[in-house]
């Protein structure tokens, strides 16, 4: 067994920033990650980091834009925390040497981004995430922080008191991909999940194949609620054949969207009369799909994004990476021709319920980054607001886990304070219900071992995970996990997409139920213990099942149109009824839906919901 004060799971932007903060606060911290840190998907972020750095700008304007962008489903204390701290964290990165794009006077450049009232998006070409990830990893190396890379965390060691609010997380169980060794990692002070989003629940996504929401699924099963999972961002500009992202920076720099009739439809068809291409992402994605659905798409599939008029020099200076991506992954030359683009799954606004210090309702368990929901993005994330979340909330989680004194959080977690319970009108049984299978093959519930001492609990969790691996690898016949995964991805992309309707969502739940049942017969075909990616992906697929279901349940229950969530049956925002967060608790295998009011009261003002127009 390994032992540290703080264990960080995942080594993208949030995980690295959390580890650095915990180290600064004096903790013995280690990172456990299924990928080497520089392979993390933060590296694929392109556009930038929003920060109110200039005199003419203010964090208050950033907070207002973010709340409006969230369609009033963000919690004001979390949003204000993000916006106030982002400038400090951006400058911290700058002091760590990050290669930001620069102005003539040597200061950090900023550009306009969708939904922003000021050009406050700092960037490093169109490879901001890559530069951020490598800068943070450099600082990790400088501090000598230990990394267990290519160790896949399989489960959390959480005690099993009846109420999740009484449980405690003592560590994790991880699997060394290279050797097949299973081991417990005891965390004396805290475990921080920074495992990224569940993008692989969809089949047209900008997300890496490793984005399987592992931390979300593990936290969910340990009793931590998942929050606002139905809010999935579909990025308006992804390459049609692969889902590779074309940065919003292209539109920020002046790129224009055209339909097959050569119309600049964002204006000419009235989708966003003021901001046009720079309306919020959900608005642009719906506009594009509407164009395609009404027969004005190109090859009935996509629209064109044109940046030729920016000129070769400006393109190379600020968007060079986009030229390479369009050429390598779509065969399009962005200097000579418009680029084909369509909406693709990009980001999960929801996630593990946390407060603005990254803490969940289970003591000793934290989450930060895309896997978490504080909530700063509400129903729709603004471009350029994901990276500041990693560094601001990652750092806070690191500090808090390491025991540094912090202001108490205003956002509540778990079933405390005001909340209401609800039921889901599901056509099939959810969760483990109806599955003939045993809990082990199904991923295990809360670890056996009760509220025993941490060592016993960890050993028991290691043992149950060992059994799970043995069962997945034993026997004859069976089906391959890729069949199950592909079924989930297809139904999610077909039914839980930009436009959602009741019958489609119910069909998705039926398909997910079927996939869950099939998973009972999944077998890992590779018998090896050495670098068994078959086993790794089979475990990931289990996680995707839980998350796909959570996304769809939230979407079916929410009968309104807010931010990224559009419903055919209810095409308007209903503030009287729905100014509340969706929460889903695993509840021993029988998912339970409940709601908590949104916090619109900020430090000095209340954000009154307004009509959201761009």
């Amino acid at each position: 067994m390994y032992e540290h004060d703080v264990i960080v799971v995942g080594a993208g932007g949030a995980g690295l920033r959390a580890a650095i903060a915990a180290d600064e606060a004096g903790a013995d911290v280690a990172i456990v990650s299924k990928l080497h840190p520089v392979r993390s998907h933060t590296g694929a972020a392109e556009g930038g980091i929003n920060a109110a750095l200039r005199d003419a700008d203010s964090w208050k304007d950033h907070a207002y834009d973010t709340m409006k962008g969230s369609d009033y489903l963000g919690d004001a204390p979390a949003i204000e925390t993000l916006c106030k701290n982002s400038p400090y964290e951006v400058i911290q990165l700058e002091h760590w040497g990050m290669a930001f794009s620069r102005e003539e006077d040597g200061r950090v450049s900023q550009r306009p981004f969708g939904g922003l009232s000021f050009p406050r998006t700092t960037y490093a070409g169109a490879e901001t995430g890559h530069q951020l990830l490598h800068t943070l990893y450099e600082q990790l190396v400088k501090r000598g922080i230990q990394v267990y890379d290519e160790w896949h965390v399989m489960n959390l060691a959480v005690s099993d008191e009846e109420r999740p609010e009484d449980r405690h997380c003592h560590g994790v169980v991880a699997y060394d991909v290279q050797t097949g060794e299973l081991s417990g990692f005891k965390a004396r002070d805290g475990v921080i999940l920074a495992t990224g989003g569940p993008g692989q629940a969809f089949d047209h996504t900008t997300n890496a194949v490793s984005c399987t929401g592992d931390g979300q699924a593990m936290a969910y099963r340990a009793g931590v609620p998942l929050e606002d999972m139905e809010f999935i961002q579909f990025h308006p500009t992804t390459l049609p054949s692969t889902g590779v992202l074309i940065s919003e920076g292209v539109r920020g720099e002046g790129g224009i969207l055209y339909n097959n009739d050569g119309e600049r439809f964002m204006f000419e068809r009235g989708y966003a009369n003021n901001d046009g291409e720079l309306a919020s992402r959900d608005v642009v994605s719906r506009a594009e799909l509407t164009e395609v659905n009404e027969g004005r798409g190109i090859e009935d599939e996509y629209v064109h994004l044109d940046m030729r008029h920016l000129g070769e020099e400006r393109i190379i200076d600020r968007l060079e990476n986009i030229l390479h991506l369009a050429e390598d992954f779509e065969g399009a030359d962005g200097i000579e021709e418009p680029m084909p683009v369509k909406p693709g799954q990009h980001y999960a606004m929801g996630g593990i319920e946390t407060d603005e210090n990254g803490e969940t309702c289970v003591s000793g368990l934290y989450a930060a980054g895309e896997c978490a929901c504080a909530s700063v993005h509400g129903a729709n994330r603004l471009g350029g607001n994901a990276l500041p979340e990693l560094i601001v909330l990652g750092k806070r989680a690191g500090y808090h886990a390491a025991g540094k004194e912090m202001e108490p959080a205003q956002v509540q977690t778990g079933k405390r304070g005001e909340y209401e319970t609800a039921t889901v009108d599901s056509p099939v049984e959810l969760g483990e219900g109806g599955s003939p299978g045993d809990a082990v093959a199904d991923g295990g519930a809360v670890a056996a071992g009760g509220s025993a001492d941490p060592d016993t609990l960890l050993e028991a969790t290691v043992e149950s995970e060992r059994q799970r691996v043995d069962e997945l690898q034993s026997g004859e016949g069976g089906i391959h996990h890729s069949e199950v995964r592909s079924k989930v991805q297809k139904t999610m992309t077909e039914h839980v997409n930009v436009f959602r309707e009741e019958e489609g969502l119910k069909q998705a739940l039926r398909d997910i139920r079927e996939a869950r049942d099939e998973y009972q017969n999944v077998r890992v075909m590779d018998p090896s213990r050495t670098f068994n990616t078959d086993l790794l992906q089979t475990m990931e697929t289990q996680n995707l099942l839980d998350l796909a279901e959570a996304i769809t349940v939230g979407a079916l229950a929410r009968k309104e149109f807010r931010g990224a969530h559009w419903r055919a049956e209810a095409q308007e925002r209903k503030d009287d009824e729905w100014l509340k967060h969706t929460l889903l608790s695993w509840n021993d295998g029988s998912p339970e839906l409940w709601y908590r009011p949104v916090i619109l009261e900020g430090e000095n003002k209340t954000y009154e919901p307004k009509v959201r127009s761009y």
């Binding site: 990928l35 694929a44 040497g97 692969t242 590779v244 992954f329 779509e330 590779d526």
Partner: protein
Amino acid sequence: MSTHPPQQEHEESPAEGVDGESSPPAQQQPDDTSVDQPSREAGRQAEDDAGSSYDGPTRHIKVFRYDPEIEGKQEPRFDDFHVPFTKGMTVLDALIYARDEYDPSLTFRHSCRQAVCGSDAFFVNGSQKLGCKTQLSELDEPVRIEPLPHQEVVKDLVVDMDHFYEEMEAVDPYFDPDETPDGELEEQRQSRENREKVKMSTRCIWCGACFSSCNIAAGDNQYLGPAALNKAYRFAMDEREGNSRKTERLETIEQEHGVWRCQTQFSCTNVCPKDIPLTEHIQELKREAVKKNLKFW
């Protein structure tokens, strides 16, 4: 991005899956007849599913196989796969298809599929390439896919990267200015020219292609190699970097296994998937080292 190929390929499977009969390439002395059981099973399964209905275009890939603990794979061999071909298909797409449809034990690293995570550098038809940005249509058949040379093979196409990481970390790969501005919100300004100077060097994705292509690194296990030297360049040329760290780093790179080992063969520059002028950077570091020594003597 999906782990699965376009839909049409699911509906029509290829006529052939694993082809254990073709002759092995001489170089690796593989034994094609000893395909392990799961692999054969999966291959046959794929053929059964396929029937003989698929008559679309396919591509023939020959993939290096090795697993230290599985009978039949302990001796390296090549497996042949015939995958349905669609326009735009990459080497990585072909490997994913072969794994998901024919042989789940086929093992390789991959993640982002957009040439930024640096996981999937392979030796493709005799050259180091990133699987995700290499079009099958540009390669002669059969396409030979092997692990990166000069690194220990863990399994199939997975190599042990530890040595590469150690070299990267040996050059103090982090920014360490003598002082930072007093104000918490004050920037440490950098000229556009200087940012441009280091820009290409910051694009490294740690894929290891250059290191694997380098004859010197192959012969001298302690040679820092092109990627680590490029990392050193990134800080050596940054006008904001502190002088003491710059000096220390220069000492590291001009030691016996540093810059002077480079014989300017340009193999690293030729294979770099991010077009970093590695050899030029190493040459510039040599000049810096000379300048520094002149200053002290």
